[in-house]
Symmetry: C2
Subunit: 191 residues, 2 copies
């Protein structure tokens, strides 16, 4: 990894764990091992620009996980459950420190930075498109797929907050089961 990638990865990890406000340039330098001058060399806009890049990287990573869950899902464990299980494992392994970086950034930095807010909004929109595509492929019409995708994203983002407050993956697993049931019922109505 070059220092640009190391900085982006470190920023992403810190965004998930503690949000943007608590993340200072010194911690970024220490944890990434990148040379001090490299932040402004690669990111002339400083911490904000680096954060926007990390948010987009996080967006890509999670979109890939969603698609991966859809491909890997087999039999009774659908894509949603497969995705929730991946995410739950990450939360447990990080002792519930690794939350959604986008949700964190909206909460702690979006008010002060239009660039951060736009990046969060873009990533949410990209996730919704990814989820909507999968739903459409499962036989739903376009509008219903888009609506369902937003609903699923909201429920999962909220479930992650409950998981973190309770240090338990159960809220996410219960919410996911109910979303699956809802999708199945919506499917029966459409066909």
């Amino acid at each position: 990894m070059d220092s640009r990638q190391r900085l982006t990865q470190t920023m992403l990890k810190l965004l998930r764990a503690q949000g943007l406000r608590a993340t200072g340039l010194n911690q970024l330098i220490t944890e990434s091992g990148a040379p001090r001058g490299s932040i402004y060399h690669h990111f002339p806009g400083g911490k904000e620009q680096l954060a926007v890049e990390a948010l987009h990287a996080a967006g890509e990573l999670t979109a890939a996980k969603i698609r991966g869950a859809a491909t890997g899902a087999k039999g009774s464990v659908g894509p949603l459950r497969a995705f929730a299980e991946t995410y739950a494992a990450e939360m447990r392994e990080s002792d519930f420190q690794q939350a959604c970086p986008i949700g964190n950034a909206v909460t702690d930095a979006a008010a002060g930075s239009p660039a951060i807010r736009d990046a969060c909004s873009d990533v949410f929109a990209a996730w919704e498109r990814t989820i909507a595509q999968l739903i459409e492929q499962a036989g739903f019409d376009k509008k219903e797929s888009r609506d369902l995708a937003e609903f699923i994203l909201a429920a999962v983002e909220g479930a992650l907050i409950l998981c973190r407050a309770r240090r338990s993956i159960e809220p996410l697993m219960r919410v996911t089961r109910r979303l699956e049931a809802m999708l199945a019922a919506a499917k029966r109505r459409q066909t």
Copy 2:
């Protein structure tokens, strides 16, 4: 209001707008108008204790809003919609600065403070009980009411994040409509 109440209200406002990490004692003093010595006089545990108290106050306030929405709801606008409309109005009036103080605190302070995390977890549990009671009164059995209450809380918390990212109340309104439809369908299954 005495200085204790002024401090708690100011902390609550700042928790909603910017979270705990960004909130310093100086800002609390300036915005509340409380005498400097009063923080440690009323809250020997300092900022953390004041935050815990503000989170519990926020919990009570919102629980009262939920119950109020249930009482005030008439005709085709159910309690959920009534609650969402109240919340949406607050978000718009604050230019999308006033988010859920509990969601904010989980994101930005729960990892570093077990006391904050416990307060958030307690408030979420209290909201779930309030919502579950209303659902039970509408004719659902106990277990289903609890499950639905957790799901509704997750979906609404997540919707608030989407609203803030997009500076729009639409995600909350769409999510609420779908939750109402889900409740109506669940009701038909139970009866």
